[in-house]
Assembly symmetry: C2
Homo-oligomer: 256 residues x 2
DNA sequence: AAGTGGTCTAGACCACTCT
DNA sequence: GAGTGGTCTAGACCACTTG
C-alpha cells in the first residue's frame, strides 16, 4: 500500500503561531503512526506486525529509523520483539507473565498462581469520584465488578469500575466463564487493551464488610491500592480499588 | 590513553566449557566498561564524561556503538545526557529532582518540600535481619539513623541502616549540618552512589512509639515501606524502613 | 564558529527461527 | 536457505549550547 507520511514536518519548520517549534524527528512520527494503527486495531494482540524491512519501504525511510520507533514501542511494552521471528503486538493474555500489573508477592515462596472468586457484576450510574476518574459524564452507566483473589486464604478484595459503553454485554456469566487474566478478556472480547496504569497506595483499616470478605478481624490494616488504567490515547478505561491483606504478602516495587 | 578493549569476545566465540555462549555485543562490553569506570570513581557525580566522539576513538569503535552503550546507561539513570553540553554522571544532589526515590505525594496540592528532623544516629551491631539484607557478617557494625519527615505535621518515620565501614565518621552532627537529600551527602562525602532500589510495602498498625513520633493514635494504619538500595555492582548499601502516615498522602506508582 | 548530543542513511554482516 | 531481528560502521547533516 506504499504509504507516504503526508504530514512530515521539514526539520526547520516553524509553528503557525510562532510558538515552540516542537521539532519532531522522523522516527517519532513513525512511532505515532504505528500507535495509531495499533489503536485502530490494524494488528490484533499477539499478531505479528510487518517486518522492519517492509515498514521501512512503506514509510520510505531507512530500516534504522523504523527500528528506533519500534525500539521505543517495545520499551513501553506495546510491542514485543522476538529475534528471528518478528515483532508482535503485546498482549495480557500471554501465558508467560500472568498479572503483569499485580505487584503482590508472597513474603516467602514462589510467586503466586491465585484463584479468583467472582462476587458480583452490576450496572450502575457512576458515583461522582468514579465518573471523574474515568472522564465520564456524571451519572454515566458503569459496570462494577467485585471479586476476591485467593491463594488458600483470601488475599485481595477488588472492586473494578468500567465504562459500560466500552464493555457492552459483560456480565457475571461471561466473567465466570473466562479463564486467565481479566485484561486478557478485555482485549480479546472488547478490544480494550490496557497499556499503562497509575496506582495510589494507602494504608487503611478493614471495615466490617471487607473484614468479612477477607476473613480477618475488623480494623486489620490493609493496603488500599487504587489503580487507574489507560488504553492507547492515554484515555482512562478502568478504575480499580484493591484491598490487600499484607500479613503474608507484600507489594513489591523497583526504583531506578 | 588510547585504551583497547583487551577482552573483546569475537562474535562466534564459544565458551570454554561449551555451555551457553553468552554472546555479548560490543556495545554491552563498552557499557560494562563505562560502569566499571563510574564505579571506580573515574568521573565523579555531576561531572561530564568524555564526548561520544572521544570515547569512540578510545575504544576504537564507531560513535553509534558508544551511543548505544550510553543510551542504556542514561535509561538506567546512571548518566544524564544534555544536548549541546555533554553527558554527565547522574547525581542525587541535583536541585531539580529532590527525593528521586521517595514516592510519597500529597493527596491535594503540589509535591512536597519536606522538612527533616533528626532523631538519633547510633552505632550498633547489626541485627540478623539487617545483616542479611545488607550482606554483612552477623554482628557487623552498622549505623542506625532515625528521623522524621514533615510538612506541617509529621508524615514519615524513617529508620535507616548503613554498613559502618562505608560511612566512617558519619554522625548526628554531620547529618544535621547537611542541607539537601541524604543520598546527596552519601555520594559527596562517602562516594557511595545509590543506583537502584527495591521496596516492599505493607500495611501495619502504629505501635506506641511510632504513634508518639508521628503524633497520631496508636493502631492507626500506616504504610510500611522497606527499601533496600544498591550501588553499582548490585551490592546493597542501605536498608531503610519507613512508616508513612497516608491520611493525607499516598504512595504513587506507575505501571508500564 | 566550534563542540556537543541527536537524527538519518545505506550497506554489511551476525544471530536466531523455521522450513 | 530464506526471513527476521540485532549489531556495527562511516559519514552526513541537524539541533542545541557556549564562547
Amino acid at each position: 500500500m506504499a504509504v507516504v507520511l503526508s504530514s512530515i514536518q521539514p526539520p526547520g519548520a516553524a509553528d503557525a503561531d510562532g510558538s515552540a517549534p516542537a521539532f519532531s524527528p522522523l522516527y517519532r512520527q513513525i512511532k505515532a503512526r504505528l500507535v495509531r494503527e495499533l489503536q485502530g486495531g490494524v494488528w490484533k494482540p499477539a499478531e505479528a506486525i510487518p517486518s522492519e524491512h517492509e515498514l521501512a519501504q512503506r514509510f520510505k525511510v531507512s530500516q534504522g529509523t523504523v527500528r528506533k520507533a519500534v525500539d521505543e514501542l517495545a520499551a513501553e511494552h506495546l510491542l514485543v520483539r522476538r529475534q528471528g521471528k518478528g515483532t508482535f503486538v503485546a498482549t495480557h493474555a500471554e501465558q508467560t507473565v500472568q498479572y503483569r500489573f499485580l505487584r503482590l508477592t508472597p513474603d516467602a515462596g514462589d510467586s503466586l498462581p491465585m484463584d479468583r472468586r467472582l462476587l458480583d457484576c452490576i450496572r450502575l450510574r457512576a458515583p461522582s469520584d468514579v465518573a471523574r476518574a474515568l472522564a465520564l459524564k456524571a451519572g454515566a452507566a458503569v459496570l462494577r465488578v467485585r471479586r476476591v483473589l485467593l491463594t488458600q486464604r483470601p488475599v485481595v478484595f477488588d472492586e473494578i469500575w468500567l465504562p459500560a459503553h466500552l464493555f457492552k454485554g459483560l456480565n457475571a456469566e461471561r466473567l465466570a466463564a473466562y479463564e486467565g487474566p481479566l485484561y486478557g478478556l478485555f482485549e480479546a472480547e472488547f478490544g480494550v487493551r490496557m497499556v499503562r496504569a497509575e496506582e495510589k497506595i494507602r494504608a487503611v483499616a478493614a471495615d466490617a464488610d471487607t473484614a468479612a470478605v477477607l476473613a480477618l478481624a475488623p480494623q486489620t490494616p490493609l493496603l488500599c491500592v487504587e489503580r487507574l488504567s489507560f488504553t492507547y490515547a492515554d484515555s482512562p478505561v478502568e478504575l480499580r480499588r484493591g484491598l490487600y491483606d499484607t500479613r503474608h504478602h507484600h507489594y513489591r516495587n523497583v526504583l531506578n
